[in-house]
């Protein structure tokens, strides 16, 4: 049966991502999901923007399109409408997808084109050297927020849901099986599915915020879901009367799923039914 490794372009490997980069883990999970769904990726298109996460499509043996910064969703919309039978997956980063590409994200969600958008959120612009990103949390240090970031950050999942995405989920590099399950359901979903994946940048963001290297980031990333942090907050604390402030928590798994007519259905476009799932 096909394995993730079979879907790689071996002549291109090893890839350029830094040692311990979370993106590699997410790519690993994505290829395992695809390996379960397809013998080969003839009927799969990976469309990516510009940035570390977008470079991974180059290493996948599929129809891969490396577009311009922030604009992947526009190219993907055209490709999907032209060839509805293709399973089109858009790979974007937090800078590429929420920074320069934010406008296209909310419109793609509104249109509900049958695409699956996987946003790699490592809270920084990795490719250009660790600058501030729309998802960088407050007080975090980056090369363009040397005094600590003061801007509030997006919650990508909430934004996508508000813009009309009919499937919204969040995964974590540290929890590959949860991530695979979430991606599987996203690909099965008819309509715009948005998956935000918490991953991390070891070379810049990790180093500047003393979060450590690969595995250290994975463990610090193991932010738990709401129940655990609520439990921790109301436990008796020893020294600090106000107890430990509740850590910022991201609920994981499928956060929203509803069935709305996709753009293709509302237009009555042909060829829609051929897409076998």
């Amino acid at each position: 049966m096909t394995t993730a490794k079979d879907l790689l372009r071996h002549e291109m490997m090893p890839h350029i991502l830094c040692p311990g980069c979370g993106h590699g883990i997410v790519m690993n999970a994505m290829l395992r999901v695809l390996a379960r769904r397809h013998q080969n990726l003839d009927k799969v298109a990976l469309v990516a923007g510009i940035g570390c996460s977008s470079r991974i499509v180059g290493y996948v043996d599929a129809n891969t399109l490396h577009t311009t910064h922030g604009r992947a969703l526009t190219f993907a919309t055209g490709l999907k409408l032209a060839r509805p039978e293709l399973e089109v997956i858009v790979v974007t980063g937090d800078g590429d997808g929420l920074g320069i590409g934010g406008n296209h994200l909310i419109h793609a969600a509104r249109r509900n084109v049958d695409l699956t958008c996987i946003l790699f959120n490592n809270e920084t612009y990795g490719m250009t050297g660790g600058q501030l990103a729309p998802t960088t949390v407050k007080q975090a240090f980056t090369t363009t927020s040397p005094g600590g970031n003061t801007e509030p950050n997006f919650d990508a999942a909430v934004l996508a849901k508000a813009a009309g995405a009919s499937f919204v989920a969040r995964g974590q590099a540290y929890r590959p099986d949860v991530l695979e399950e979430v991606m599987e359901r996203a690909l099965d979903h008819r309509g715009f599915s948005f998956v935000e994946v918490m991953t991390d940048c070891t070379e810049y963001f990790g180093r500047k915020n003393a979060l450590g290297l690969g595995s250290d980031l994975l463990f610090t990333q193991s932010r738990s879901d709401q129940e655990v942090s609520r439990d921790l907050a109301d436990w008796p604390s020893l020294r600090t009367p106000q107890g430990w402030q509740v850590r910022e928590t991201q609920p994981l798994g499928v956060l929203h799923e509803d069935r709305r007519p996709t753009f293709e259905e509302s237009r009555g476009l042909p060829g829609y039914s051929e897409r076998e799932v």
Binding site: P14, I16, L17, C18, P19, R55, G129, E203
Partner: protein
Amino acid sequence: MWRKEIRLAGSGGQGLGLAAMVLADAALRAGLHATIMQSYGPEARGGASRADVTLSDQPIANPWFPAPRILLALSQKAWDRFSPKLGADALAIVDLDRVQGAQGANVWALPFERTARAELREKVAANMLALGALGVVLEHIPQEILAETAQSRAPKGFGQVNRTAVARGWQLMGDALGGIAHVESVGP
């Protein structure tokens, strides 16, 4: 006129950026001209990172060069990446333990990291040891200026370590050459 194109190559975190700044700054203090072209972006990650330093007694028009006259390689990946492009008359200094398979007439393999770890208790000082060795071959930057620059630009708490490392590197290379034999200048 005297001109030397030098490439300092190794893996990320070995302090090559700092070594380039120290070398170029020492050249300025010795009355020479110097330029640096640091690699960055995807190449700098995933292992091989490099800094190209050009030294000359005349103003330097082009800081870029296709292949270096002197290659300093502190990691296997760097040696594998940059040694094929070396010219016949080029000269190479490599770390004995970290680089295997570096032979050739004018290739010197010296135990920079091992000496740094054993004598200076700081593995990361290998870059300054390598700089000391380089100083011998360049013959245009006095050891005192190189050591003094290495100390002044050292991160907090590493000043003395850097100074000793340069001197020790100078000695390592001197011994390898069998006393301070004159190295005829390479290239035009």
